[in-house]
């Protein structure tokens, strides 16, 4: 059978960095092909070449046996390739119909195009089970439906090869299931699908064949049925990896953090936190699960002192001021609250500062790091070098600016800084977002070790796997509320998924 996509010897270098090296790939029509690899392995570069964003330095692309030159995305669309980006490219205040025809209008007048699109959408909905109200405004649709619109856009442009880049990052497990159902249907109708992901579980669940990329090279292409997650992880990283952290049962002590009726309104008056109550004890990890944007970020911001709110918060039984502007992040740190922020590049690090300058960021008032207002740079530099050694930050060069480290090593810098203070309470947001598997393993071990030393840990993550493997108790947030709380060993993805979608299962809190 002629492959739908055939790549031969694709290479792309950015200066000395070989993002893609001699890549060969054959994807048969009517299959779902997964591409898996760590950050920077070259997945996105390869897909950008396939979608005409980059031109390969060498190599050949054949679509259904015909050699093609993909000089821009128009050419890719003409060749029947559609792309669904991780971050949707939709006009928020347009209707579904208007978004679908955007850039594919037939003439200067909209009416005929809209009528034609309406008919085609109906046909597509019937063929693939892609039901979306064509007159709904994008901003009124849930994320799962917005993603469907992206798929519809591609199909409307006659794509028969669909590339999806990390499509489940923003979905609840239930929405992801629906997406997979749609993808299977598309495949059964003869479409070819390429799924880029870093989630091993998804590869196993939905793909027919899988390719592993590592350091710009395609290290393996195999039928999914003949492999398993451990094998894939090892191929991705190049060594054996512990996928699930081994943890001893928690030995929870006294309550460290007690939050009652926390409420927050944003500048436009929308309630972001609706009477949130929770507590964390010493030596335990409370995981906050939820789809991104349901109040978890705000919860971290309030508790870390970055944002005032209403409600009561006690730390070790002492009430703390969360309402006045004086309650800033500095006073919160002085109380022993550490914070690994969700976005390390925007908040956790000053990207232009060297690693050693970042190693005291937020703690630069400490008597060890400054005296009479003068920074003790020599001492800081020395301590940072030792810390980077302990956390295996690579390269171990304290003088290097933070922006020149990889994502995983940047995160290690932040985690090291916050963990080594031995806080009473550690707030962690998305500890392993954009971090490669090897570093994830290490960071998880460090978090667990801190728990075992008696720190109370509040963990926010959109990765349900991460929440399940690290937490002792799990609270699920939806629309600014805690939908329910479960012991980690007494729940599963299914139940949490329902809570994440805002549905309280019978007997739920």
């Amino acid at each position: 059978m002629t492959p739908a996509i055939e790549l031969q010897g694709i290479s792309k270098a950015f200066g000395p960095v070989h993002a893609n090296k001699d890549i060969a790939l054959r994807v048969l029509p009517g299959t779902i092909h997964g591409i898996i690899g760590e950050n920077g392995a070259g997945k996105s570069t390869l897909m950008s070449i396939l979608y005409g964003f980059y031109r390969a330095d060498a190599g050949e692309i054949r679509i259904h046996g015909t050699p093609v030159t993909l000089s821009d995305s128009q050419a890719a669309i003409a060749a029947g390739i559609g792309m669904v980006f991780q971050h949707f490219k939709l006009v928020e205040n347009f209707t579904v119909l208007e978004n679908v025809i955007l850039g594919a209008e037939d003439g200067r007048l909209l009416r005929p195009s809209l009528a034609k699109a309406r008919k085609e959408l109906r046909a597509l909905a019937e063929d693939y089970g892609l039901n979306v109200d064509p007159d709904a405004c994008i901003e009124d649709l849930g994320v799962g439906f917005q993603q469907r619109v992206e798929i519809l856009k591609a199909l409307y442009r006659k794509a028969d090869i669909l590339i999806l880049d990390e499509p489940t990052g923003v979905l609840t497990p239930a929405e992801a299931d629906q997406l997979f159902r749609i993808l299977r249907r598309l495949r059964d109708e003869g479409k070819t699908i390429i799924l880029i992901t870093h989630k091993l579980r998804e590869i196993m669940e939905i793909t027919d064949t899988v390719s592993v990329m590592r350091r710009g090279q395609m290290t393996a292409t195999l039928p999914t049925a003949s492999t398993n997650p451990e094998d894939l992880a090892e191929r991705m990283v190049g060594r054996k990896v512990l996928l699930r952290i081994e943890k001893a049962p928690a030995q929870p002590g006294a309550t460290v953090l007690d939050v009652q009726n926390l409420c927050l309104q944003d500048a436009t008056g929308v309630a972001r936190l609706k009477s949130v109550s929770l507590s964390v004890r010493a030596g335990e990890i409370l995981g906050i699960a939820g789809v991104a944007g349901n109040g978890q970020s705000e919860l971290l911001q309030v508790l870390s002192g970055m944002r005032p709110a209403q409600g009561q918060v006690w730390l070790n039984g002492q009430p703390i001021d969360i309402a006045t502007p004086r309650a800033d992040a500095r006073t919160r740190r002085a109380l022993g609250i550490g914070h690994v922020p969700e976005d390390r590049q925007r908040e956790g690090l000053i990207m232009q500062f060297s690693a050693w300058e970042n190693s005291v960021f937020g703690y630069h008032h400490d008597s060890g790091w400054q005296r009479y207002g003068m920074m003790q740079n020599a001492a800081i530099r020395q301590a940072a070098a030792a810390q980077m050694h302990r956390f295996d930050v690579r390269p171990p060069n304290p003088a290097l600016e933070a922006r020149h480290f990889s994502g995983g090593n940047q995160q290690k810098l932040v985690v090291a800084r916050e963990i080594e203070r031995h806080p009473q309470l550690l707030l962690i947001g998305q500890p392993t977002r954009g971090v490669d598997i090897g570093a994830i393993e290490f960071i998880h071990q460090q978090i667990m070790a801190l728990r075992d030393q008696g720190t109370a840990i509040l963990l926010v993550s959109v990765e349900l796997d991460e929440i399940l493997s690290l937490s002792d108790r799990i609270a699920v947030m939806f629309d600014g509320q805690i939908m329910g709380e479960r012991a980690a060993d007494a729940t599963d993805e299914r139940e949490l998924g329902l809570l994440m979608a805002g549905m309280a299962p019978a007997g739920g809190a």
């Binding site: 997945k43 996105s44 991780q86 970055m306 976005d343 956790g348 232009q352 300058e357």
Partner: protein, 366 residues
């Protein structure tokens, strides 16, 4: 972001910018029928060829160091203090008040006192813009430039109506007392056996300016405040995460910046004019922006850039005096230098960066 070796960033970019400006200036001079090489020779001779020339060059340099440092400090907090002009005017007022109304026993004490009042008033002039920026989001570029006009009107009023000695036709204060007159470079170098022109205005303020460079370096790279200023300048969200108070940093940075701009007045008002005259700043506040840009906001860079602009100022004055090149064209040349080293900085930087670093993917890796 491309990564360029530090030396290229610090040396190559300004040198190439300067060469481009020089080439363009040469073309302009050619176009009006004069000889660019002769003009350059005249500038060098006039600015650097005699101790008299040096005396003027260093006098201008002193002004530009102060205003350049003022802009540079604010740049580190990503604040664009465009109001050096007004702050320096207020500095002049501070100098005048100190010198006119306090009977100083010795110039050294007078210098300390006048420096303090100059810095104080210069700083005070930034307080409102800084506060409005920090708490109300009024853009500091707009407010500081508007404060230039207010300063100018205020000085106008004070010099015409309040501080002008009775019977004088000149909108200026009375001459300062003898005890406040600062030693010139001639006075300072004479004991060392170096003969320096007696009529050149460069004075001990130059030493204060160089010391200020050192102080700013310590402030920015060695103090906790400087650490917070830089952190705030690089990333406001990160500074907020670290508990750095945005209002405090904005106000503190602008006060320091305004203080430095105000200190310029010890050179012009106390050192040279020995009285406060109208328009004593003469655009040095704006030159400070170019100086800071060219000096990469680093005190050493500011020092060198200030020297270059001092040279251009004095050389330009000589050019106007001895050739048919009109005064306006000198301004054109100066403007070209400012344009290339300041505003068009990226024009040189980006191709250079591309030269040093290979292209990187512009699309986020997933």
């Amino acid at each position: 972001m491309g990564k360029m070796p530090n030396w290229a960033d610090a040396v190559l970019v300004p040198v190439i910018s300067l060469l481009l400006a020089a080439i363009l200036s040469a073309l302009v001079i050619l176009a009006i029928g004069e000889d660019p090489l002769a003009a350059l020779q005249l500038m060098v001779k006039g600015a650097l060829g005699s101790s008299y020339g040096w005396g003027y060059t260093l006098y201008y340099t002193t002004n530009f160091i102060f205003t350049g440092l003022a802009v540079a400090v604010a740049f580190h907090a990503r604040l664009f203090n465009i109001g050096g002009e007004g702050q320096a005017m207020l500095g002049g007022l501070g100098v005048a008040l100190a010198c006119l109304y306090i009977p100083w026993p010795h110039w050294a004490l007078a210098l300390v006192g006048a420096t303090a009042t100059a810095a104080l008033l210069g700083a005070a002039w930034t307080l409102l813009p800084a506060y409005l920026q920090a708490r109300r989001g009024s853009h500091i570029v707009i407010t500081t430039i508007m404060f230039n006009f207010i300063a100018s009107a205020l000085l106008n009023y004070l010099l015409v109506n309040v501080m002008r000695p009775k019977g004088s036709m000149d909108p200026a204060t009375a001459k300062f007392a003898e005890a406040t007159h600062l030693p010139t470079l001639h006075d300072m170098l004479a004991p060392l056996g170096i003969a320096f022109s007696k009529s050149a205005p460069a004075n001990i303020s130059l030493v204060i300016a160089v010391l200020a460079c050192g102080a700013v370096w310590v402030l920015i790279w060695r103090t906790r405040l400087g650490y917070e200023i830089r952190a705030f300048g690089h990333s406001e969200p990160a500074a907020h995460y670290a508990g750095i108070n945005a209002t405090r940093i904005t106000v503190a940075t602008m006060l320091i910046s305004g203080g430095l701009a105000g200190m310029m007045a010890i050179n012009t008002t106390m050192g040279e004019a020995e009285r406060l005259v109208l328009n004593s700043v003469e655009g040095a506040g704006f030159i400070g922006i170019a100086v800071a840009l060219m000096g990469r906001s680093h005190p050493a860079g500011v020092l060198l850039a200030a020297l270059l602009f001092g040279f251009l100022y004095q050389g330009g004055a000589e050019l106007a005096l001895w050739t048919n090149i009109p005064r306006e064209l000198i301004v054109v040349i100066q403007a070209l230098v400012i344009l290339f080293t300041g505003a068009l900085d990226n024009m040189v930087r980006m191709p250079l960066e591309r030269l040093f670093t290979p292209r990187k993917p512009s699309i986020k890796k997933g």
